[in-house]
Structures are given as structure tokens and as C-alpha cells.
Amino acid sequence: MTAVLRSLLPYFAFAAVYLLIAAFVTNSYYQLIMTLVLVWASFGLSWNMLSGYTGLVSFGHASFFGLGAFSTVLAQTYFGISPWIMLFVSAAIGALAGVAIGLPTFRLRGHYFALSMLAYPLAMLYVFQWLGYPEVTIPRVLDKPALYMQFSDGRIYTAIGLVILTIIVVITRFVEQTRFGMALIAIKQNELAAESAGIDTLAWKLKAIALSGAIAGAVGAFYAVVILVITPQSVFGMLVSAQALTVAMFGGPGTVWGPIIGAAFLIPIAETLHAELGNVLPGIQGVVYGIAIVLLIILAPEGIFWKVRDHLRNRQPKETAALAATAAYASSGNSTKPVQSHPKHTISDEILLDVRDITKRFGGLTAVNNVTFQVPRGIILGIIGPNGAGKTTLFNLLNGFQIPDTGKVILNGRNMVGQKPHRLCMSGVGRTFQIMRPFKRMSVRDNVKVGAYVHAASEDEAEQIALQALRDVGLEDVADRVAGTLTTKQLRLMELARALAGRPDLLLLDETLAGLGSEEAADVVAVIRELARRGKTIVIIEHTMQAMVQLVDRFLVLDHGEIIMQGSPEEVTRDPRVIEAYLGKKWGADA
């Protein structure tokens, strides 16, 4: 917690300066603007909590905001409940609405998710109009107004707004630095990879939308108090959801600073334009505002914060980065070379994975047909076959991405069919991907750490496990670099480390050697062999046989979704069916 607070020192400095400026503002309109900046920054942070971190763009945050605003006004109008209480009640309402909306909507992805989120506030807008609330106002309280959050001095609202924003910032930063935020960022960067790294994506997304809804609900309540008059249009309207999105995108999503920067820029500009130009040429403020946003999106598509940060990072430590890279190359080379002298590993009689008669059809295509095989503990099993043979589908069936139509996948004596990928991960199945799925904006260490949470009780333990995994694959020297800057080989090794961090019994490696030169491939092969020596069971897919012959104990050859043979490398390379599958009938007959 202290680390969180320390990391927020710049924010506290900002808050202090803001409060100081606010104290000297006497014009009530500018006081209002100063409060609204905080309101929209807070609302932007609410949006950021869900969409900024998970990447699931919500066009419907007005739902939570509006529910908070309307509950607060109606609660005071009909029951005399103070907004001080409604601030918390609205947060609870927002959280509930978040879960209620999230449960059905998280079934959708991408544009479908964004568009269906749009529907909720629009539906609520009409419901509230139909209920007979075209316009509601906070009733004025003359007796002890402070008990009802009513102050004649607008600066008090700015102070309250700042307290609310600060609480939200601390929560956000706390989330950012724990496994919660890590999980969300992992989901944003790659939901499938996150799931297979043991992250229960649905549960984390629900937590995120509940928290996000709670924040939006509370902010909506405060907004109603500040603005006095609300209409369904002004709290549920398209522009409200867009406001959250705009300030967050403008400032930079996925960081505490983004929405704050966005709101601090956009709200005063919009209001000043409105006040200064609005009377001269009514409506022109919208045009100017629109142009400003378009320009910014062209110039800094990822938001001001990231643009500035990338600019600073690229400029200042370029040399050190280059040094680190060469050092990393040297050390990774060093660490893997000594292992190349074929270490022995032992294969036990115990069956770790027992696959029985699994079949998967996609419409008329049978991708995997009646496949049965066993994986003894400690083996390196190679699955080969030409493109389209069904290798990756087989992996997807084994780690839960897809559910087989028939058959059983028995791991350690338990049938795992129908389990979600993160469950399988917890039960000891780790995997890498043919197309690499790194979390590009995260550091190598954090990439691996995401995989370590499955079995880690604390942040520290996760950190330790991640470091160990990095050491195992020889990447400890590049641990602090951003994953996006790694070479293909390093990325492959990082993926391997992420899978390892989940402490799997069984490692499923999907074309780990693809795209590597022969020397690089040899390095990776050495690492895999070393893992096997330490007792990991490994199933690896490749469609080229060369590197594999040196590596595996046993081959399983797939073609058209069926196993055409199993056996030792020597047997397999000589088998005419295998040659036929790879090279065609003609070559098979000749051989």
C-alpha cells in the first residue's frame, strides 16, 4: 500500500496545486468547471477501469452514471436521503448494474461487446422518460444544507470532487499494481493467452465491471448534486458515455493519468469555447471541439500520456537499452550453450495424460478424428503432421479452448473435458502458442508473472516464481524490457517461461521452433531438453521434422485429423505412410 502511495506522489502534487488554484477562483462558473473537470476525470477513470485495462470498449458507461445520478436525486426527493449516503448507495447500485450487465454481455467480444453496451443506457433513457422523469432536480434544503451536500461556495464542491478523484486514483493504482490489474491487462493484450495462463477471465472481467460501475455510480451521484438539474438525456445520453471515452482516449487509456489529462484539457476547452464563441456564433464550439479531437487522434492515436511517455523513453535511455540488448544476447547464448550436451531425462511408467477417442468436427470437417494416445510422465512427445493435419486443434482440445464432440481427456486420472482453460492450467497444463501471444506493452517480467499467479499466494511469491522461470529459460537479463522489443527467439523463450511459471506438469508447446534459424532453434531445443531433464512432461507440435528428431523420445504422426502412426524417431522417419503424408503418394511409392 505504501508503494502504491509513493508511486502516486506526482498525483498528490497535482492535487495540491489544483486545490490551491481552486481556492483563488471566485467566479462561480469557473468553480463549476473546476469541479466538472474532476467529475469527468473520475468518470473517465471508471471507464478506464474496465475498458482501459481489459480493452473491452464500453459505449455504455452512462448506464452506471445515470443510475447513480437518478437514484441520488429521487432518493432525496421522495425519501429525504442525503447525497452523502447516496454516494455510497449509488456505488452499490453501480456495482450491481455492472454485474447484471456484464454477465450476459461478456459473452460477446470486440465490436459486438461495444455495440451491445451502447444499448443499455439508451434503453434506460427511455425507461426513465416513460417513468415520468423528463427532468428532475435536487430539492433545495434551507435548513442545514451541508447535511445534504449543499454549499453556497462552489469551491467546497471542488474539494469534495478532489477527494473522490483521489480515492478513485488510489484504487486504480492499487488495482494496476496487483494481480487484478495484471489480469486485466493480460486480458486486454490477449484474452486467450490469459485464459491459458490460468487467469479466470470471466471472473476478473466481472470484478472489473463491478468496480467500474461502482465508481461511475458514485460519480453520477456527485454530478447530480453539482449540476442540480438532470434529465435522462443528460445522464444516460450518448454524449455521456462518449465523454468518458473521449477523456480517457484523449489522455491515454490504461493508465491513471490518461483520464485526468484528458479531462483537464478537454473540459475547460469545451466550456471556454462554449462561453466565448457560443454567443458569437452559436454552435461553433462543437465544431472547434470536434476538430481538436480529430487532430489529436491523428497526432497521438494512443493518447497524450503514451505519446509523451514513449517520446521520453525513446529519447533518453536509447544507449542503455542497446547495451542491455547486446548483453542479453551474450548472456542468453552463454546460459544455454553448456546445456547442449544432451542431458538425460527419465521416462516413468506412470501415465500423466490419457487421451481416449477424442473427435472434433467443425460442420462437415472432422478436424480431429478418434484420436487416442497416452503420455507417460517425463516424456518429450512430438506431434507432427503436415499443415492442416489437426495438430493445433488437438492442442486446443487438450487445454480446454475447445470441447471435443466425443472422447475423454484424462489428466492424472481425472477427465478434464469441459473444463475451462484456466482450470486446466491450475490442474497442471501449460501451453505456448504457434502465433506468439505476448502482452506487448508489459515488461518481460510481468509477462511471465501473469502466468505465476495461478499458484502464488502473494505478489512477492509471484515475483519469485516469475524470476525462477525466467532463469530457467535464460531470459533473466532482459526481464525489465518491454516484451514488444524482444527478438523472435526471446519471445518464444518468454512464452515458455510464462507457461513454466504456472508450474505445469504437462507443457504443450505449439510450434515453438517456428520462424527460428537453425542455430536459434538449437538453443531453444536445449532449453526444452533441460526442462525435460528436470521432470517436465512435454508435448510439442512441429510440422518440420529436422529439429524434432534430435529432441523427442517418441513421435505421433497426424494426418487429416487421424493418427497414422506412433513410434520412435527412427521408425517414423522411415515409415512410407509418413513420407507419403508429407511428400505425396509418388514419393511414398518411390521410397
Binding site: 467566479n27 462561480s28 462558473y29 469557473y30 468553480q31 463549476l32 422518460q129 415520468g132 423528463p134 427532468e135 432536480t137 433545495r140 453556497s152 449540476i227 442540480l228 438539474v229 434529465t231 438525456q233 443528460s234 466550456e271 462554449h274 462561453a275 457560443g278 454567443n279 452559436p282 454552435g283
Partner: protein, 406 residues
């Protein structure tokens, strides 16, 4: 050394800034008295807002020509126009700006649409700024506010006054009383309070059965379903409560297209704005009646003519005449309070009676405890030969009413 010099400079500037208000106060007596007009000058309600500005400008001109505020050394009125935009949020925001940026305002008038007036007065009430309004909604003066003065009869009162007159007229001219009525209304506050009042007894009192009620949100994009419903229900009467000109046009056009010929009584002025004629033929409008809070009446011919000459307005709607009248009411109150203090002015408006009303129909220039003008009545207008003319009250009528024939 450098630092101290800079501080000295800063200090001088500060003291200069601080001393400014006092010098201003000395010179203030000759200064104009600021009154605000907060009304929609942009957006879909810009047209009525602009007409309000015309009325206010003529009013200020006439008050100043008559010697300004004599009690304040003949200080002239100065009009400050604030655009309330086309949404409740913008109106509230504009009100915030008005009270912040014009501390010298003594009073304001506004804001056409009841929804805007409700929002604006939430803010002006807290700033103790007296506001005159021509808006109709009962809610405006139902909140125990001390600084809102409603010059029009409220929606509820208007419906109450208008319904018996309309029923009698129908019976007089057709020989039978209408029995069924359909309502098409937008969801603005004034329209909704009229309809509310009708449903809560007024219709029953005059023996009308409500066979259909349709509510829409302005601006309307298609009126087909609304008009279909009327066609299917075949009511004896149609009560029609639009606020946006384009909505009223759209619905009337659709009625013509579908040959729905139900005698139509409107509430409000959207159906009698000059723009209606831009796309509709005058003869198609002939006979359509509307109950409005105020209109150009007999005896105001001179003013109507000036409005036409200066701004090209073919006739004088409520927005022009009420806002014009507001300037004279403010002058009267300022003379009596004899102060630039807004709270004193509000107190004067609350407690004084400035005699019979000249620019608002019926009653006197005095307000009850809730801020409603005492004895406020309304006017009923009717499209006759391409012009909406006042047909009620009879003593102010420009022409006699004719029941719209089917």
C-alpha cells in the same frame, strides 16, 4: 534584490486590482441597469428565443426612450443576452455562466421552454436573481421559490380556462358537444403538465372521453404512427401540444396527407409561428385553433407594426409581447425599489401590485406567494386567412371565432 522588486510590482498590481471595485461604485449611478434575457438563440428552439430577443430589444428601447429608470437618475436599461442552447443541460450551464459573469444583473427573463426555465431558475434561485418567465409549467412556481415570477397562466390553469370555452364554441357553432378527444403531446414539461391536468379531472368536467394519448420526444422524425392512431380512433376533437415548430408542421402535414380531418385544438404557439407558412399552405391551416398564454391583441397595433418594420415579423407572438411587457414590468419594479439590488427588486415584485396588466392577458401586475401572476388568463388564437388572430377574450379579440369544419 530582483525578487523584492518583482514582489513590489506584484503588490502594486494587486492593490490596483483590489481598488477597482470601489472606483467603479462611485461612477455607478450613471451606469445602465443590466437585465438579462436567457433564451435559446441556437438549436431547435432558436426561433422563439430570437423573437423573445426582439421583444426585449423593443421593450428596452421604449423604456429608455421614456426616460429610463427615473428613480436611478434616469439610468437606462441594458439588455444582456445569454444563449440557453437547445438542451436542459446547456440551459443550466448558461445560467451558471450568467450568474457568474454578470454580477451586476438585477433581473432576467427567460427561457421559452418550461424545461429550460426549470433548470435555469434552479440556479438563479440560489443566486437570488429575480427571473420573469413566460413559460407555462405549473412546476416552475410549485417549488416554493422566492425569485421566480410567472407572467403566463400555468399550463394547468390554461387548460382549465380553455376547455370550457372550446366546448361552448363547438356546441354553439355545430349544435352538438364533442364527446371524445385524442391527445398528441411532446414530452416537454409544459405540455406534460397540461395533459396531466386534463387527465386529472378537466376532461371529465367538460364531458370529454380520452380515447388516445400519444407522447413523443422532440424533434420528431416521422409522424406516421401518431397520425395513423388518430385515424383509427376517429375522435371528435384532437388536442395537440407541440413545442417545436417542425414537429407541428410534420404532424399537420401528415394529417393532410392521410386526409384526417379532426377539428384540431393546439396548446402553445409552435403551430402559429410564421415559419409554419414556409411549407404549409395557408388555407390548409385555416380554422386551426390554439390556446396560448399571450398574443398580439386589439390595441397593440402600433407595436405589431414596429415589430414588422424593424424585424420583419408578420405578427406578434407571445414571445415578443410577453418579453416586451417584461421590460415595462421591470421598469415599474425598479422605480419602486429604487435600487440596483436584486434582492430588493425581488422583494418589490413579490409584494407590489402595479395595477391592471397591459401586455399579459387578464389580471393584474402582481404575484401571489408562489410567484404566479394574479388573475392571469390566456388568449385563444385561430388561423384565419393566413394569419393567426386572437379570437378570445372577446374584449381583446381581433376577429370572431369560427369552429373548424370537417
Amino acid at each position: 534584490m530582483k525578487l523584492t522588486r518583482r514582489m513590489l510590482l506584484l503588490g502594486t498590481m494587486l492593490s490596483a486590482a483590489l481598488s477597482m471595485p470601489s472606483t467603479e461604485a462611485l461612477a455607478q449611478n450613471a451606469d445602465p441597469v443590466q437585465v438579462g434575457l436567457i433564451a435559446p438563440i441556437s438549436g431547435i428552439y432558436a426561433r422563439p428565443g430570437t423573437v423573445m430577443r426582439m421583444g426585449a430589444e423593443l421593450g428596452v428601447e421604449d423604456v429608455n426612450a421614456a426616460g429610463g429608470i427615473e428613480c436611478l437618475n434616469g439610468a437606462p436599461l441594458e439588455l444582456v443576452v445569454i444563449d440557453s442552447g437547445d438542451s436542459v443541460e446547456k440551459a443550466a450551464n448558461a445560467a451558471q455562466r450568467m450568474v457568474a459573469d454578470y454580477p451586476g444583473l438585477v433581473a432576467a427573463t427567460g427561457s421559452y421552454l418550461s424545461s429550460f426555465t426549470l433548470a435555469v431558475t434552479e440556479i438563479t434561485e440560489r443566486a437570488n436573481l429575480p427571473v420573469l418567465t413566460l413559460s407555462y409549467s405549473d412546476l416552475i412556481t410549485g417549488r416554493d421559490f422566492k425569485n421566480v415570477f410567472q407572467t403566463s397562466a400555468t399550463s394547468g390553469a390554461q387548460a382549465e380556462i380553455a376547455l370550457p370555452i372550446i366546448m361552448n364554441l363547438a356546441e354553439e357553432q355545430t349544435g352538438k358537444r364533442p364527446k371524445t378527444v385524442a391527445v398528441i403531446t411532446d414530452n416537454t414539461a409544459a405540455s406534460l403538465s397540461s395533459v396531466e391536468r386534463m387527465k386529472k379531472g378537466l376532461l371529465a368536467d367538460v364531458g370529454l372521453e380520452l380515447v388516445s394519448e400519444e407522447v413523443f420526444t422532440p424533434p420528431l422524425s416521422d409522424a406516421t404512427s401518431l397520425v395513423q392512431e388518430i385515424r383509427a380512433r376517429r375522435p371528435d376533437l384532437l388536442f395537440f401540444l407541440p413545442t417545436v415548430i417542425s414537429d407541428s408542421k410534420l404532424i399537420l402535414e401528415k394529417m393532410q396527407e392521410f386526409r384526417v380531418k379532426v377539428p384540431t385544438i393546439s396548446f402553445g404557439i409552435a403551430i402559429a409561428e410564421p415559419e409554419v407558412l414556409n411549407t404549409m399552405q395557408a388555407e390548409l391551416l385555416d380554422g386551426v385553433m390554439s390556446a396560448v398564454a399571450n398574443w398580439g391583441v386589439k390595441g397593440q397595433e402600433g407595436l405589431i407594426k414596429r415589430l414588422n418594420e424593424v424585424y420583419g415579423e408578420p405578427w406578434m407572438t407571445q414571445n415578443a409581447v410577453s418579453t416586451y411587457g417584461d421590460m415595462w414590468l421591470l421598469k415599474a419594479a425598479l422605480e419602486k425599489s429604487c435600487s440596483r439590488d436584486r434582492e430588493k427588486l425581488a422583494e418589490t415584485l413579490r409584494t407590489s401590485n402595479f395595477g391592471p396588466s397591459q401586455y399579459y392577458p387578464g389580471g393584474t401586475l402582481s404575484f401571489d406567494a408562489s410567484g404566479r401572476r394574479e388573475g392571469a388568463s390566456l388568449t385563444i388564437i385561430q388561423w384565419q386567412n393566413g394569419v393567426p388572430v386572437t379570437v378570445f377574450p372577446e374584449e381583446m379579440a381581433v376577429s370572431a371565432a369560427k369552429w373548424p369544419s370537417e
